[in-house]
Structure formats: C-alpha cells, structure tokens
Symmetry: C2
Subunit: 396 residues, 2 copies
C-alpha cells in the first residue's frame, strides 16, 4: 500500500462526499453545466472590489524591487500594522503589528493556531453543526475535537458547552457568521461564554482559549453588527481571511490576531510564527499581503448576497421548508423534508440541484445550500425545490 | 503556560539560531545595514525574469472573470498540463496533468507528501548535512527522520544508506542541488541508489519512495546536467517550487509530481490532494499558478549566481579555506578553521559577517554561506574572511 493508513481510512470515510461531487460532474456532463444548479460549494461569485483590481494593476506596472522575495515569517510589517490599526479601532484594545501573523488563508491560520496551542490529547470544543474541516485541522496537530450541540435555532447552548469543558480542554472554536447555518452568535451569548471560560479556566487552573474563525466576518445582513470576540474573553485569537470579504479565496491570504490581553502573548505569537514556518506555509503570499493592507475597511458588495438570501429564503419558506433565517455568510441550512438527509439531497439531484447533506456538518436531517452563485441560477432552481416540497407535502 | 509543550521545547532548542539572527539585527543597528554582510539566509536577490513581470502586467490589465476564486485542490488543469508536458519531455515518461498537484512552495509540498505517505513511526532517511526544516516536516506528520552521513565530498554514501534502511523505512529524501553543500548528486550514485531502493523494497516487502526536493533544480553550474530522479526509481515523487528558478520565494508557488511508474499512482495523488486540503493550504495561490504555467522553461539568469560562486569560492580557497566546490544552489559550505563552528561563526561576526554554523545542518565543524546577494556585498566581505583565515593560520 502506497499511502498512510490514517489517510486511507479518512479518504474511505469521506468517500460519500466524493460520490456527491462525482454525481454533480455526471449531471453536468449529461445536462450541460448551465442546466445544473450547483449549490454545493461556497465559492464566492462576486469579483474582488475595484480598489483591489486597481491596486494590482498599479503594482504590476510599478513593481517594487524585491517584492516577491522572502520576508519575515509573520509577514510584512506594513501589512500587519494596517491590520492592527483596524482591529485596534474596532476593539478598543492596544493591538500592534506584533499581535499579527499573516497566514495562508484562514485554513492555514487555524492549523497554525492549533499547532502552536495543542499537545497530544488536548481537546477543542466545537459547537455543531460545524465546518467539517475543523476536525482535520485539530487532528493534524494532535488534538481532539469535542462537538457540542447548539440550540434548535443554532444559537450557542451554554449548558452543553459547560458540560463539555474538562481538564483536557484547551480551546473552544467558534465560527460566526457560521458555516453551515449562517447564524451570528449574539452579544448576550458571547458575554455568557466569556464568563464561563474565565470561570472554568480558574476551576481547572488552565487557560482556555477562544479561537474565533471569522472568515465570514463582513458578510452580515439586516444591519447586524458582528460582536467583537476580543471584548468577551482576554485569551482570544482571531483567525480570518480575505477570501470572502475581498473575494480572494484562491489567493490564500488571511491572518491570525492574538489579543493583547492574552497571557504570554509574546510567546504565543512566537509559537505561531514558528508554526507558520515549520508547517510549510513559510509566509502568506507576498503580492497579496501588499494588496490587502490598505483595504481593511473595504469589501465586496454585501447587499448582493443579502438579496440572494432574501430571494432564496423567502421562496423556500413559501414552499414549506423550515429554515433558521441566516444573518450572515452565504449559506442556508434547511431541514430536509425526510429524515434521511442523504436521500433527500439525492431527490434534489433528480431536479439537477446540488446541495450537501447535513451529516457532512455533523447534523443529519438537514442540508446546506451555498448561494454565492449567480442570481439566475437560484431563480432557475426554485421550481425544482418546489416540486420536491410538493411531493413530500402530498405524501404526508 | 499558553503554548504547546512540544513547540515550547523546540523553540527553546532552536534558540541559538534565534540568537544568531538577533546578533545580526544588533550589528545592523550599530554599523548600519550596508556595513553588515549578511550571508545567513538563502533569499534570492535576482528579480523574476522579465517574462514573468510582463505576464503579471498583462493579467492585471486584462483580468479574467473569477481568476481569484477557488479551483480544484490540485490546482488549475492548464497549469498542471503545462508542467506535465515539460516533465514528460524531460523524463521520457508518460506524465499527465493527473500526476501533478500544485502546492504552496516546496515546503508546503513536502508536508503534503509526508502527510500522504507516513504513518506514526515510519522512517524517512535523509543524507546529512541537510536542510534542518526537513526534520519538522517529517515530525509534523508522525514520521521520524533517520540521518545518514555523506562522504567527505558530500556525495551519497550508499553503504551508510543501505545500513539505515529497515522495516520502518518509508522513504528517502534527497535534496539536489543540495542545501547547504551545493553538491549535485551524480548519475552513478543515483543509479546505485535506485538499485538499492528496489532491492530493499523487495527484501522488506514494502515500497520505499524516493522523494526528491528539487527546489534548486535550475541553479546548476559548469554545464552540469541535473540527473532526472524519475529515471532511477519508479516510486519517485518530485517536490519543487519556483522560489529559486523564477525568484518567487515570497509567493509560495510549487508543485508535487508523482512518477507515472509509481504503484497505485492514482491513490497516491488522491491522498496528496486530500493532504493539500486538510493541512490548510487548500490550493496553491491562484494568480501565481496562472503566471508560472507558460514559464516552465524559463529561469533567472543563472550565470549571475555562477559568477558569484566563482568569485567567492576562488577567494576563500586562496585564503586557505577548505571547500567542496559546489555545482549548484547558492551556498558554500566550508570547513570552519577551528573545531567549534559556533565560535567560528562568532569570529566572523566580529568582521560583521553573518553565516550559519554547520550544526544547524547536522554538521558541526562547518559553516554555511548563502551568496544570493549583491556582488558588492561579497567583495566587501572578503577582507574580513581573509583576516580571520590569517589569524588562524598564524596560530597553527
């Protein structure tokens, strides 16, 4: 056998997801790509803001000597300074460039954080439903994921989190706005979470970190103001990227920010920089570091996503689907109309609609729709969603 | 304590390297950056070829819709096809785009390869002196490094390699042209290595992979033709990047190529793609994938490095240093003039010359000079090297 047994087993376990993709490919080959409604992957369809394109043009026309060379493993000082200023203003905390590490996207950032924090057997609490890659990021670095259920509206269940915290707990990983539910955790729930983490840290004599995955931080609707995690717990580490706010997912540019209130913040940052190096990222891509620095307050036209959410959500609810109305990200996470989410997703495939079963997010009985696609794709898919809803309504 | 014990111990263990850097920083602050001769890091000083700059300008001026979005985890089909064509011609083997995975540099590629190949306790043989990051890349993924000494001229010691191969051996990692020695392994030694790996694979009933780190593959001198590893062992995996040949180290763009002769090549590639995803790289930076595709036969002006090697090597030899003449990369690895390489490196610091002690490459008693710097820096540093040589000659 060529490959690692661990990887082989995981590849096998994940093979139903591969089957989904293969079904999608087959459908596209049979019906033509334009006749397949692919809501399976969250791949932003909006172009980066004009300011970014302009900055790229200007840099390409006026290249700076050495602009593609290595820089320190934490990234350019200028970029870190720009981000620190922005977070300082946002949080009211004394951030400096020394609290920042530029990373290869948020996925790279999370691996770096877990490498720096975790010893073999350390536990990371993750509210479920959750982005299934988290499990790998924790496992890669010797940790163990500890899933806790959220409430019916996918809000944080503090009682469940409290029960899950033990002597092995090193961190809790919170993703808000959430993939797959689109839920934004409230100020109230975060205040309680902060108090709980501080109480439990004292009880177990061990600092519990709040790792906030804020990949969707600027994709929020209904004038919601995203709470600033740094304000709820001193030992907070933000991991985010410009994949969604600047529509640059393929470029792999993100950052990790360590709260100035963290104990041993200097040592923690040193460990992050070291992890960034030895995990093989080395540094975040140089060109993109330069481009995003002045764009910390920019973002894609979020209203376009909001309009798509409204269109999709309102239509599905009118067809009889049950959905917690998402306030952010670009996902809907409706209840499947039959218990078996995989069978239901396959039903939708008969209408050439591609979605992902809830079991792929630790939540069987649901399915995820990624709507960062052209509006006309959504419109074209709605009749199929309606036919399936009608079919199951008539059977009840 | 905030950080992982493992990381804490490693940070502590590596602290003498940090001291070196800090000394360098102090020197630069005291004497001014222009009066410090920094040969500590291999950070290419040459600009990327004009063809790359032109391609960047053209793409920035004529952006392609969706060019910053996610693509499949193995990278753009067009890029993989261009590289496959190039390697096919070079090796005579039937490479296709399906044997390629685009990666976040060679460091990312090596982590991906070891994640895909290694189970806990598997051993990877590495000839020493060696690039010390290899140890982390192997350890990150549950493997163990098994160092073997090279001959006095830093050529492969086949007898030592044979002794090191056992039931736990999963791979041998070969870096040619070599960092830190600059040595290029010969056709003869690779032929013997291939035969040895095949014999030992049969003996232990377990395929032993040849992982070739070819980061410096185009930086070769004296009209040397770099042997193509794929031709010596069927189970060969090439890991390389465009950091050196196109002078793009900060952009993190490289690839992994699996020999079409590998057993279960399809499964191996699937495992690599999966590893690329779950380790948090997700994909190689999109923009750079596009830019490097048509430049597989291009490279920086290698003669400039060769001239620097000649200048530096000839001068040091005339001062009495003993050096194996390097045929590639941009490093010299002379013998220190006293046994203690750290003390010797500190001596050089008194002349404001920064180098790295051989112990940082598993070879005490030597030191590494990275000469990918401006020619005038080399010229300015030579008197310091001579003074130190004279001092130790007169003491003998």
């Amino acid at each position: 056998m060529a490959i690692s047994r661990r990887v082989k087993n995981t590849l096998k376990g994940a093979s139903w997801v591969r089957r989904m993709f293969e079904v999608g490919d087959e459908l596209k080959q049979v019906y033509g790509e334009e006749n397949v409604y692919d809501f399976s992957i969250g791949n932003p369809d909006l172009e980066p803001p004009a300011s970014l394109k302009k900055a790229l043009r200007e840099l390409a026309e006026n290249p700076i000597a050495g602009m593609h060379r290595y820089m320190p493993n934490n990234g350019y000082s200028e970029t870190r300074r720009a981000i620190a200023e922005y977070i300082k203003e946002e949080s009211g905390l004394p951030f400096t460039e020394n609290h920042l590490v530029m990373t290869v996207g948020a996925a790279g950032g999370l691996n770096v954080v877990f490498k720096a924090l975790l010893d073999e057997g350390d536990e990371v609490i993750v509210p479920s439903p959750y982005f299934m890659e988290f499990k790998f990021y924790i496992d890669n670095n010797g940790g163990e994921i500890r899933l806790v259920e959220t409430n019916d509206d996918f809000s944080l269940n503090l009682a469940e989190i409290e029960k899950a915290i033990g002597a092995k707990t090193k961190a809790i990983l919170i993703n808000s706005p959430n993939n797959p539910t689109g839920v934004v955790y409230s100020h109230d729930s975060l205040e309680k979470l902060g108090a709980l983490l501080e109480r439990k840290s004292r009880e177990f004599g061990r600092t519990i970190y709040l790792v906030s995955d804020e990949a969707y931080r600027r994709i929020v609707y209904d004038r919601v103001k995203l709470p600033i995690f740094f304000q709820y717990h001193p030992h907070t580490i933000r991991v985010t990227s410009h994949s969604k706010d600047l529509s640059l997912p393929g470029e792999r540019i993100g950052y990790v920010a360590v709260s100035p209130l963290c104990e041993d913040a200097d040592e923690l940052v040193s460990a992050l920089v070291f992890a960034n190096r030895i995990l093989g990222f080395v540094n975040a891509p140089a060109l993109m570091q330069r481009l995003v620095a002045p764009l910390q307050r920019n973002s894609v036209h979020v209203q376009e996503y909001e309009e798509k959410r409204d269109l999709f959500y309102n239509a599905l609810v009118s067809f009889g689907y049950h959905i917690v109305k998402p306030q952010g990200a670009f996902y809907l996470f409706p209840k499947a109309l039959i218990d078996d989410d995989l069978a239901f997703v396959q039903e939708l495939q008969s209408k050439r609609i591609l979605t992902v079963p809830g079991r792929g997010f630790g939540k069987p009985g649901y399915f995820r729709i990624a709507y960062a696609v052209e509006r006309k794709k959504i419109e074209a898919a709605l009749p199929g969603f309606k036919e399936i809803a009608d079919k199951y309504r008539s059977q009840r």
